[in-house]
């Protein structure tokens, strides 16, 4: 047996840069994703201020287009996805009784690629202008002829690097969930959040290659003078739209499925009941994931695909309402007959249900191709996808944060402040987006930087902006809550919510090795099963022994810096810089491959010491 390294004891910055621990990477994702969420939020508020009154002059023309592009891109790729990855990292290994993810090194690499990709994209603000062709970056508008700044090149390279991170992250979770489940944790005993993480990862695996291909083509057009989308030279502009939406629609489900998973956990826990129709819920998740790939062209009803394609994609899209409806009714029936506690986590989950149903209603309405000729690219669409993404996913993520905060940080968020957080965000949300349905129906196109007075849109826009300010206040209250909580001394118990799943069987926050002894799982809601059998905790599936851990490494950080440098080189056509950056990447890959690292062990004494002071 090879000699193992001594137990590394990094602290401070070095610890965060080199960690491969899924729990710390989860926190990194949360902090970085939270930061980008605030950036995207500020961009949104600036746009709302410009639209508060007709004919305003705060941010006009191209500047407004930069704001709308960066708002969308940031929120989807740099805020929503990372916060989902934060919760997946923090919780999924704990829910399946694993000690880490399958590839801890790759996990760290995934985070740093996302972080440097996002940073690269946002630096465009200071380097001659942000991308301004919309988050969908339709050519020819995103080509060099009509977008001559480097903005869209930052978009292409930034997303390509961040996307690599997401793709390997998705693969990592697939392998983790398939291979690293504790004894007895069969697929049909996995908590719904783990199931949704599994399906989401599968969607990432199949959807991200499409955007990667699209971005490569756009990159070749912009940087090497290719003609994929240059109409004058035989290019085709609709090709991009297909590639983008073959990725883009599954992306919607990549975002929403984990929220469904969170809601399923939270509603069950705070109703003190088993999830109603568990197997139907699993099946519905799989069906939604599958159908998610069959409907991309409903974003393109007005492109001119003809009535046959429009009708077929229309029907396929409507079908998604069926599994989604199954989920809604199962949540309602989970609460039926339960003992519902209105903690902040559950308020967000409960608030999610009617809000998401409204988003689903408008979703079915939008699926009707002939009616979409009116809705398409109007504020009605803006209202719809914010109901789904904010009212759906963001509510879900808030719920998940309140629910799992003690498991991630060892302290409980303040419930009183939490309720302020919920009500401000909830009311602000509906004020912002409900009037936008009517703005769209009365003729207001989306992505407009201003509108003339006298078209009947003044009131709706005013209410919408006020709502956005209330939402901002709600978000600020959340930050305040996180700050207050971090100053609090009181530690959270292992199972503060009287919950059901495996992550609550171990101390809060989870120790470095997660489970001192791998647990034996005896049913769905593994911890609940033991509680009902009168046991104090999980039955171990192995004797207490030294635990093998992966070594921390600076290489993922270094490789991501290499990609970051190479990205700059490509954007500014500096071949030398690109080569230097890629050499750094290759150095990292060689170093990782050539030098064996056998990790280290945490000894039994240390485990016993750690477990002694635990508040169960």
């Amino acid at each position: 047996m090879a000699q193992h390294a001594a137990r590394p004891r990094n602290t401070g910055l070095k610890d965060w840069l080199t960690t491969v621990d899924h729990k710390k990477i989860g926190i990194l994702y949360l902090v970085a994703g939270g930061f980008f969420f605030l950036l995207g939020g500020i961009e949104a508020v600036l746009m709302r201020l410009q639209l508060m009154y007709p004919e305003s002059n705060l941010f006009v023309g191209a500047t407004f287009n930069e704001l709308l592009t960066m708002h969308g891109t940031t929120m989807i790729f740099l805020a929503a996805m990372p916060i989902i990855f934060a919760l997946m990292n923090a919780i999924v290994p704990l829910q399946i009784g694993a000690r880490d993810v399958a590839f801890p090194f790759v996990n760290s690499l995934g985070f740093w690629l996302f972080f440097f990709g996002g940073t690269l994209l946002n630096l465009s603000w200071f380097l001659g202008g942000a991308p301004d062709a919309g988050w969908t970056a339709y050519p020819p508008l995103s080509g060099t002829t009509y977008s001559s700044t480097h903005g869209v090149s930052f978009y292409v390279l930034g997303l390509q690097i961040a996307g690599l991170g997401t793709l390997i992250g998705g693969i990592n979770f697939l392998v983790t969930i398939i291979n690293m489940r504790a004894p007895g944790m069969t697929f049909m005993r996995m908590p719904l959040f783990t199931w949704s993480a599994f399906i989401t990862s599968a969607l990432i695996l199949f959807a991200f290659p499409a955007i990667t291909v699209g971005l490569v083509l756009l990159m070749f057009d912009r940087i090497f003078g290719a003609n994929f989308f240059e109409v004058a030279n035989g290019g085709n502009v609709v090709l991009w739209q297909h590639l983008f939406w073959i990725f883009g629609h599954p992306e919607v489900y990549i975002l929403i499925l984990p929220a469904f998973g969170i809601i399923s956990e939270v509603v069950a826990t705070f109703s003190k009941k088993r999830l109603f129709g568990y197997s139907a819920m699993v099946f519905a998740t799989i069906v939604i994931g599958f159908l998610g790939f069959m409907v991309w062209a409903h974003h393109m009803f007005t492109v001119g695909m003809g009535p046959v394609a429009n009708a077929l994609f229309s029907i396929a899209t409507m079908l998604i309402a069926v599994p989604t409806g199954i989920k809604i009714f199962n949540w309602l029936l989970t609460m039926w007959g339960g003992q519902i506690r209105f903690t902040t986590a559950n308020l967000f989950a409960v608030g999610f249900i009617p809000t998401f149903v409204i988003g689903g209603m408008t979703g079915v309405m939008l699926a009707v191709a002939p009616a979409d000729f009116q809705y398409h690219d109007s504020y009605f669409v803006v209202a719809h996808f914010h109901y789904v993404i904010v009212g759906g996913m963001a509510f879900g993520l808030f719920s998940g944060c309140y629910y799992w905060w003690p498991k991630m940080f060892g302290k409980m968020l303040n419930e009183t402040i939490g309720k302020w957080n919920f009500w401000l965000f909830f009311i602000g949300f509906h004020l912002t987006f409900f009037p936008q349905h009517f703005l769209g129906l009365t003729g207001m196109p989306r992505r407009v930087y201003t509108y003339m007075a006298g078209q009947g849109w003044e009131m709706g826009n005013m209410i919408s902006t006020i709502g956005a300010l209330v939402m901002t206040l709600g978000t600020a209250v959340f930050l305040w809550n996180a700050f207050v909580t971090s100053r609090k001394a009181e530690k959270a118990p292992a199972d503060p919510w009287d919950a059901r799943t495996l992550e609550w069987a171990i101390p809060s926050p989870a120790p470095e090795y997660n489970f001192a002894q791998t647990p034996r799982v005896r049913g769905l809601d593994a911890l609940w099963v033991e509680k009902m059998a009168g046991n104090k905790g999980m039955t171990p599936a192995e004797p207490l022994g030294p635990i093998h851990m992966p070594s921390p490494s600076i290489l993922p950080f270094l490789m991501s810096v290499g990609f970051f440098i190479a990205g700059f080189g490509f954007i500014y056509h500096q071949t030398i810089v690109s080569v230097v950056g890629l050499l750094v990447v290759f150095y990292g890959m060689f170093a990782r491959s050539l030098f064996d690292d056998h990790g280290f062990h945490i000894e039994v004494d240390e485990i016993k010491e750690t477990e002694k002071g635990v508040k169960l």
């Binding site: 023309g61 088993r274 009708a311 609460m335």
Partner: protein
């Protein structure tokens, strides 16, 4: 204590209800522009679309009502009561219920899907060979619309003249980036893709000036890329066609300050004509300006009769005001547009304004 708690919850819900009620009232009471709204259709296509919107909305409202009813009942009935530490029955599921809420949505979707398919095909009908239909070629530019009547050999911009009650067959494309042609009051929208041709039919059932919008992000002035669809009687349309399609057009500037207008014409012939055509003479980079005095807007979005008074004097006065504003600083009025004339002197602006605002065909 339990009752207290419930009252508090009810109060919270109660506080929200009037808010939403007021909101809904304000929105429906809000005077939306009847010539811009998809909710006040003035043509068969928009009517079919509104029907599909309503049908899907009502079906979905039914689902919403069911969900909200169960939701409200559950939240009130199954709150945890203080001191109740019993463990609820751990129900696994219920096959009968699960089949019901799988099958009923299917049936509801069929109710929407059948008329959806037929409407989709009706809206895609081909009128290209219909002798009765007026044919128009639409070309979108950053940030204006070109309308070309190949049969009558008319080229115009920003304002699409169509006869009431007649089918109009549109062939649409773009000269630069992707735009989208949208007239909410008459029909839906279709994208204009460079290098490709899309088609669409229009029919208006009422006379009036309808607002059109570009719906696809197309650059800095996407927000300002408006156009008008002027629906007129068949006689008025025929007269317009006769006037606009004359072989030897005689544009005049009657009623103008002749000296100033002549000066304006001189400037136009020196500086503007390489991009703009009048009576078929001039460049094709910018909009055709023939018969400019009858325009509803300047630069496509500065409205000459913003309150629909129909008063010619008001329209002419605003036309001059808007034209003056536009020519004085086009980049500020419409960012990113291609008209680079920042060097015009104030007296040149006056002269051009006088010329263009009186330019009409006899």
């Amino acid at each position: 204590m339990g009752l207290d708690c419930m009252m508090r919850r009810l109060q919270q819900v109660g506080r929200l209800l009037p808010l939403f009620a007021v909101l809904a009232l304000m929105l429906t009471g809000c005077s939306s522009d009847p010539y811009l709204s998809a909710l006040t259709p003035k043509g068969p296509a928009a009517e079919m679309q509104l029907f599909m919107m309503k049908l899907s909305l009502y079906v979905m409202l039914f689902v919403f009502a069911v969900v909200v009813a169960i939701f409200a009942y559950v939240l009130v009935r199954y709150r945890k009561r203080k001191g109740d530490n019993s463990i609820p029955e751990q129900v696994e599921g219920n096959h009968k219920l699960e089949i019901i809420w799988t099958v009923i949505p299917f049936l509801l979707l069929i109710v929407i899907a059948v008329p959806m398919v037929s409407t989709t095909f009706t809206l895609a009908k081909d009128y290209s060979q219909d002798k009765e239909a007026v044919k128009v070629k639409v070309t979108a530019h950053q940030f204006w619309w070109e309308f070309d009547y190949p049969e009558a050999k008319i080229k115009t911009a920003q304002e699409l003249y169509i006869p009431v009650g007649k089918k109009v067959w549109l062939e649409l494309t773009s000269a630069d980036v992707i735009h989208s042609f949208w007239v909410p009051g008459i029909a839906g929208k279709i994208d204009t893709n460079p290098g490709m041709k899309n088609t669409m039919w229009l029919e208006a059932s009422e006379e009036g000036v309808f607002q059109g919008k570009c719906a696809e992000l197309c650059g800095a002035s996407h927000a300002l890329m408006d156009f008008k669809v002027k629906v007129v009687s068949q006689e008025e349309f025929d007269a317009w066609v006769a006037k606009m399609s004359k072989e030897k057009p005689e544009s005049t500037t009657d009623g103008a300050d002749t000296a100033l207008a002549a000066e304006g014409e001189k400037i136009f012939q020196q500086s503007c004509v390489s991009c703009h055509a009048i009576d078929g003479n001039g460049g094709k980079i910018g909009p055709d300006l023939s018969n400019y005095s009858e325009r509803q807007t300047v630069a496509g979005f500065l409205r000459n009769d913003p309150t629909h008074t129909g008063d010619e004097a008001v329209r002419t006065e605003n036309l001059k005001k808007n034209l003056h504003k536009w020519l004085s600083n086009p980049e500020e009025v419409k960012p990113g547009n291609l008209m680079k004339i920042g060097q015009l002197k104030p007296e040149e602006v006056d002269a051009l304004t006088e010329y263009l605002s009186n330019l009409k065909r006899q």
